[in-house]
Amino acid sequence: MVEKPAYPANGCTLSAAQIETNFSDLHKPLSATQAISAADSCIYCYDAPCINACPTSIDIPTFIHQIKTANITGSAETILAANIMGGTCARACPTEVLCEQACVRNHTGEEPVQIGALQRYAVDHLMAKDAPHPFSRAKDSGKHIAIIGAGPAGLSCAHRAAMLGHDVTIFEAKAKPGGLNEYGLAAYKMADNYAQREVEFLLDIGGITLEYGQALGQQVSLKDLQTRFDAVFIGVGLGDANTLNLPGNTLPGVENAITFIENLRQSEDKSELSIGSNVVVIGGGNTAIDAAIQAKRLGAKHVTLAYRRGEAQMSATDWEVDLARSNGVNIELWASPAALNGSAALESISFDSMIIEGGAYKKKGEIFTLPADQVLVAIGQTLSTSELQGLNIEKGKVVVNSRAETSLKGVFAGGDCIASGEDLTVQAVEDGKQAAHAIDQYLSANSETRA
């Protein structure tokens, strides 16, 4: 159920209260009655396709069965045992292309089980209880692991490594933990400071130290960490945002969507953020969608999402594209940015109309221009490689083997900085978890302790 947001009307801007409502939970949490009803539609499949569709292999039929038996804490533990960030994934996962797409209910033309909403119901139940952390640590191994980056991959790796008995220090460049959970996901998906609450919950396992303002290549170096720690995990994500290589791209009003969302997420009072009247978002992925919807919900009068190819080629899921449309975002397809126009500040953006001919994308030879006082660029992020000297990097990703090992001994990597699959929180959590097990095996194989 998507809440109806408020938009500016009759030339008025949105009130602070309207904006606050616009950025509250996109989906209201399930009530107990709704949860029971939703859980009832699960067939409790054997060797269920939804489990296979989840990158972290959460035992979905079991956790839903546990909701049915009123063992909701046990349900949350089933989820978190596979995915310690099950709370964020329940909010942010594109379930429509993962677990819920695999639900067998789809085969009969029914709605799939609301797996994401049920997962949130169970995890929220556990986190709302003033209960001890559900997982305990194995006997102290005497080993100490350095983790670079407190995003989903690093935090997941840290939690699992701590469970396995190792001590962990996480080096984080920013002032807060959470990575994209804190800085990158749309605000209405992570309402009520959820990213920080989840990190606090996760750290309750003990044995994890976080150091902020520690950027790789500046305050810390890979070489130094290799000598000081028994193993190193790199979970730095994709640090560089791609820019439009066009005239006018330095005009005031041209901004990267990543920065836009980060500022929005970190803002205490969103009504104080400035937003254009005519906002154009460039890109076809979920970041572009998130930026467009949030611009609209901040009060932009007109928001256009322009993508150089067709809807079928967009990497955003159908559900996300529909969400953008229902939020009043105009979607302009086959539009490739040609120029950013303006003198002192951005005034408009011109596009080449594109066509596909014989499988090749071509300019049609027609240019059109949209008024724009703000352009948000969401055309992908790339790995920032300058601090990763000595690591084997291919196609913009850190190369790892099946044991998450990089080309450097004792250095592991996971999350968006490796080529493990979609750049999704849930995949990063899985990478971090698997890397922790690989590090554990590596450390026990190299049992001689650091001198």
Binding site: Y46, D47, P49
Partner: protein
């Protein structure tokens, strides 16, 4: 609309649906609402001698399935807690206002000839169509020597029935308790005592749940609970069997049956009639949904009869009795196999895991590629147990198909291993 009228122990009824003696028939207000809704009759809540009993607060417990649907209710309420005179006055009034509807007076008394006879006469004088002897309540009243305390002793069943027969000239229904080992014994006793019909089943003795915080059985009365009478959909299978046992017993042929036990829908009703019931009594379904359920009970039964070409209830009454046999009369050479319709299969794997873990390892998982799988029955291993078809969530996806193995019918008494 098919003709749903019927005659039960000589009493004409506009349809076979009566409300059983229970809270819904406690007083005039409820009974008149039931008649307005279309119920053909009521068995008034059991009357006893004065002074009336006193009921406790907190009276019902519940047994739900995982989908939160009520499977059964357990009650610890006793008989009518209003004075006999008030009840009889109301019965007279309702009889006058609703001449085409049936009222049966339910009664119980301690084992004392005079008590039974005096009470039966008073009730009969109120104008009821018949009297039902409550020999079944398994809680409370039995501790005072009534209800199931009488129903569990065949000699007392016969005795009380006879006492009532001796003083009234209206039909007598003896209501049987299921809390016995063989229902035929009290049924025969009722027949010997002269009952025109038996009503069954009364509630099943039960504890429906234990409150794990209070550590007491539910319903809880000031931190304590007691066993009660279980009723509703969950007891229907027990009732169907007991009705069938009586219907096909040679010694008590002709005994009419007023069937009770988990009747919630027209289909339940049709099943009891097919096993020989003359009339039906309903309670729990009305308590759960209100008297309006009568609408579909009559409409559904009527529709069923129209589709099957039955003009009256008598056209199919008892039709399933001849097919209800002892195990020894089953054909051991009959063979049926599961067949899975792959087009409607949703690949949930429930049939596989049920068969693999708990039956005969007869359902094989195949890899269709692309993450898809299919399920195939290995006919050599399938014994035709039905388990896969029962657990399958898709209607008609798994069909049990009889297979011709060329063997003649063979029962266990004829089987070589038994000769």
């Amino acid at each position: 609309m098919s003709d749903l009228s019927c005659t039960i122990a000589g009493i004409k009824s506009i349809n076979p649906f009566w409300l059983a003696s229970a809270p819904p028939t406690d007083k005039q207000y409820n009974v008149e609402r039931a008649f307005e809704a279309g119920w053909a009759g009521v068995v008034w809540k059991t009357l006893g001698e004065n002074p009336p009993v006193v009921n406790v607060s907190s009276r019902y417990g519940v047994h739900k399935d995982r989908n939160q649907s009520v499977m059964g209710i357990n009650n610890i309420e006793l008989i009518s807690d209003r004075s006999l005179e008030v009840n009889l006055r109301e019965i007279e009034d309702v009889r006058r206002k609703w001449p085409d509807r049936v009222i049966i007076g339910s009664m119980m008394a301690p084992i004392d000839e005079q008590a039974w006879k005096e009470l039966a006469i008073k009730i009969a004088n109120s104008g009821v169509h018949g009297i039902e002897l409550n020999l079944g309540c398994p809680h409370g009243m039995c501790e005072r020597g009534m209800g199931s305390a009488i129903g569990q002793v065949p000699e007392l069943v016969e005795q009380t029935t006879r006492w009532v027969r001796e003083v009234v000239d209206i039909p007598v229904f003896t209501k049987l308790t299921p809390n016995i080992t063989n229902i035929l014994v009290p049924a025969e006793a009722a027949m010997k005592g002269g009952a025109h019909a038996v009503s069954l089943i009364n509630t099943v003795n039960s504890i429906v749940s234990v409150d794990l915080d209070a550590m007491a059985p539910t319903p809880i009365v000031d931190n304590k609970g007691t066993h009660g009478g279980y009723c509703g959909a969950a007891v229907k299978p027990i009732a169907l069997n007991m009705v069938a046992e009586i219907a096909r017993a040679e010694d008590i042929q002709g005994m009419e049956i007023s069937a009770i036990g988990g009747i919630e829908t027209w289909r339940d009703a049709a099943e009891f009639i097919a096993l020989g019931a003359s009339g039906l009594q309903v309670c729990t379904a009305a308590m759960l949904y209100g008297f309006r359920i009568i609408d579909d009970m009559t409409a559904g039964l009527s529709q069923f009869m129209k589709e099957k070409g039955y003009r009256t209830l008598d056209d199919f009454r008892g039709k399933a009795i001849a097919n209800t046999v002892d195990w020894n009369q089953l054909n051991m050479n009959f063979d049926t196999k599961a067949f899975i319709d792959k087009d409607s299969c949703i690949e949930c794997g429930r049939c596989h895991i049920a068969c693999e873990d708990t039956a005969h390892q007869a359902i094989v998982i195949g890899d269709k590629g692309d993450g898809r799988r299919d399920f195939t029955v290995d006919n050599d291993e399938c014994v035709g147990c039905n388990l896969c078809a029962l657990v399958c969530p898709v209607p008609e996806c798994i069909e049990m198909r009889p297979v011709d193995n060329g063997l003649p019918p063979l029962t266990w008494p004829e089987h070589p291993a038994n000769i």
